[in-house]
């Protein structure tokens, strides 16, 4: 190995242009990869980025306007989600409950007619799930409702908004909160609730 073996040469202009284009292309490629990764990671950590409508709620088989029922008619959350104070699940109301009003109310509305068809056929509605925690999480609505309503001295139906956002003002229900474990744990810490794993996982 002799010193001076290596003679660096100045690049020509042609080479410089070639390298410039190459680096631009790779920069673009990197940008695309980073963008995709960001989307995936943000989706992993919380809600998808609000691009291309990824943050919107899903279309339901029957477009049920919470605005109409909650804001305009003043129905309480617990009027339909009856189990929320006593059970683990808030429960979606059965078609029969809808029909207690819609047997007469809402004539002529296309969505109500759909509902009546379903009710007449004796079927159930396949609502699309908006909020979902994985199977290994034991979320219990009643415990949360009772805790917050007692702590803040508010009505049960006012507690719902803590996690679900102001559903009453949503035409299409969307996920308001991340509902990832960090979200749960932080809230539990803030409220001195147990953070023992076995509180939710068993």
């Amino acid at each position: 190995m002799l010193p001076g073996d290596f003679q660096p040469s100045r690049p020509t202009n042609k080479q410089l242009i070639k390298w410039g284009i190459l680096s631009l292309v790779s920069l673009f490629f990197v940008a695309v990869v980073v963008g995709v990764l960001m989307f995936v990671i943000s989706a992993w950590l919380g809600k998808p980025l609000s691009v291309f409508g990824y943050d919107e709620g899903p279309d339901q088989p029957i477009a049920f306007p919470h605005t109409r029922h909650v804001q305009e008619l003043g129905l309480d959350c617990t009027f339909c989600h009856r189990n929320v104070e006593t059970g683990a699940a808030a429960t979606i109301p059965p078609v029969g409950l809808c029909m207690t009003c819609h047997a007469v109310a809402g004539d002529g509305l296309a969505e109500v007619e759909k509902l009546r068809e379903v009710a007449a056929a004796g079927e159930a509605i396949d609502w699309v799930r908006v909020h979902r925690v994985p199977d290994f999480v034991r979320f219990n609505h009643s415990a949360h409702i009772i805790f917050f309503s007692e702590q803040d001295n508010i009505l049960s139906s006012e507690v719902c908004a803590v996690c679900h956002g102001d559903v009453g003002s949503m035409v299409k229900v969307e996920q308001a909160r991340y509902l990832k474990m960090a979200d749960c744990v932080n809230c539990h810490r803030d409220n001195n609730a147990p953070t023992d794993c076995v509180t939710c996982h068993y």
């Binding site: 190995m1 002799l2 010193p3 073996d5 290596f6 990832k180 474990m181 960090a182 744990v185």
Partner: protein, 459 residues
């Protein structure tokens, strides 16, 4: 050295770069063969990923089997690199020179093998192993459990892998520049990039030498810790009496050096046979390794003996049951005898003879034998530790590896062979600069007692 053939720089270059710049006829078929075997192991892993750990022979209570044995084995082999490069470098043993790179490369590939075996392959849900290996999980406030030896395992192994890779790279720089100068086209560009602008200036030489020595010193604690931590995987288990022993860390480390140095000797013989490097790798080197091995093997055997003393001294039922299982129960008895013979009683007396130490064939046989024995040693510790007859004789179990496991174990061997061969094709497996450096200093000898041994030079 006595039989050292004096070569000049050009001859060294020609000999060592012959197969980097050219390609021996057997190379491609051999590499393809090992690749196929490795891919077969990969396919076995894919099958296991699809079906679950059930495809192995693991059961209750033998929850660790071939994968864990293989993990410990490869970690053991990896200790060759540091032993040869760092310790011998720091102790200025001259004969290490042609062996350092092969040992370090062997370290790198055996560590990747080990990593494949333990965190990746053997867990129930490999896709979640990141939770264990990387503490990414900031948001939930649930961190990896630092009390677990398993958390320290990957970090120790990764540190060791990083250090070994750096070792290889730093030692490679001057050689890469030589190859750069002898290649054209794309190869030239690639080597130019890889050699990081090495020009062989005195400053660069100085930095390279300092980096080498520094790394040697810094890596020594890692060297000790890696296998200590691996031994803690076993030693901290109160539930498995045979493993719960304070001798385990030194016992594992010395065992690792035993198997690692043997593996280097095996690789050395293979290099001579395959690449015809007998002018550089002389019987002198083998002789030196052989002497080192006698010492290492005997210390290892002492540790092994101590472990037995510790176990038997207490006369506790579970320990006695394990030893009974190892020594008197078929088929473990046969394995135990094979292990003892191959790991110590066959090779060490052989190495006592100078003729054997200087004979390529016999050194190959004896060092291979050591590694067969050391593999069995890990098997006998891990599997029998779990399969022992314990208080709950109702749950006493046994273990038979499945084809999937055997295939994956073979694949790790193929992976190391494949890696070494590919490396040897792309980079010189013997450091050219080191050989030349040794030549500059000339064959120094110093007298210790009545013996003359090769001395080191100052770097």
């Amino acid at each position: 050295m006595q039989e050292h053939v004096q070569l000049n720089s050009k001859e060294v270059n020609d000999i060592l770069l012959k197969d980097v710049l050219g390609m021996p006829k057997w190379w491609l078929p051999a590499v393809l063969f090992f690749l196929v075997v490795f891919l077969a192991g990969g396919a076995a892993f894919g099958y296991m990923l699809n079906k679950g750990v059930g495809v192995t022979g693991l059961n209750r209570p033998v929850m660790w089997g071939f994968f864990m044995v293989n993990f410990v084995f490869w970690i053991g082999i990896s200790h060759a690199g540091i032993m040869i490069s760092a310790i011998l470098r720091l102790t200025q043993a001259e004969w290490r020179r042609p062996l350092t790179r092969a040992a370090e490369v062997l370290t790198v590939f055996s560590l990747t093998s080990a990593l494949m075996a333990a965190p990746l392959v053997h867990v129930g849900r490999p896709w979640r192993a990141a939770l264990w290996v990387f503490p990414y999980d900031f948001e939930r406030g649930v961190w990896p459990n630092v009390r677990s030896a398993f958390v320290w395992d990957p970090s120790a192994v990764m540190t060791y892998l990083t250090a070994s890779t750096l070792f290889v790279i730093i030692a490679l720089l001057p050689d890469l520049a030589i190859i750069r100068d002898r290649t054209t086209g794309t190869a030239h560009k690639v080597y130019s990039l890889l050699c990081l602008g090495w020009r062989g200036t005195p400053r660069q030489w100085k930095l390279q030498a300092v980096a080498g020595i520094l790394l040697s010193a810094l890596v020594l604690p890692v060297f000790v810790s890696v296998h200590s931590i691996v031994s803690w995987d076993f030693a901290v288990q109160v539930g498995v009496e045979g493993w719960h022993s304070t001798i385990f860390a030194p016992y594992f480390i010395i065992g690792a050096i035993h198997s690692g140095v043997s593996a280097v000797a095996t690789v050395m013989v293979l290099m001579v046979w395959l690449y015809k490097w007998q002018k550089i790798l002389t019987p002198d080197h083998l002789d030196a390794i052989g002497r080192l091995l006698i010492i290492v093997a005997t210390i290892w055997f002492f540790a092994f003996f101590l472990e037995w003393v510790f176990a038997l001294y207490t006369l506790e039922d579970p320990e006695l049951a394990l030893r009974e299982l190892q020594v008197f129960k078929h088929p473990w008895m046969a394995l135990f005898i094979v292990f003892l013979i191959t790991a110590y009683f066959f090779p060490v007396p052989m190495w006592m003879f100078k003729k054997v130490r200087r004979n390529m064939f016999w050194m190959f046989v004896t060092t291979i034998s050591v590694n067969i024995g050391m593999w069995l040693e890990r098997f006998l510790i891990i599997v029998l530790g779990l399969a022992r007859r314990q208080a709950f004789t109702f749950d006493w179990g046994t273990y038979h590896p499945s084809m999937i496991e055997i295939l994956m174990v073979i694949a790790t061997f193929a992976w190391v062979m494949f890696g070494m061969l590919v490396f040897a094709k792309v980079f010189p497996l013997i450091p050219l600069f080191d050989i030349k450096e040794g030549m500059v200093g000339g064959p120094h000898k110093i007298k210790i007692g009545r013996k003359e041994i090769p001395a080191s030079i100052h770097e």
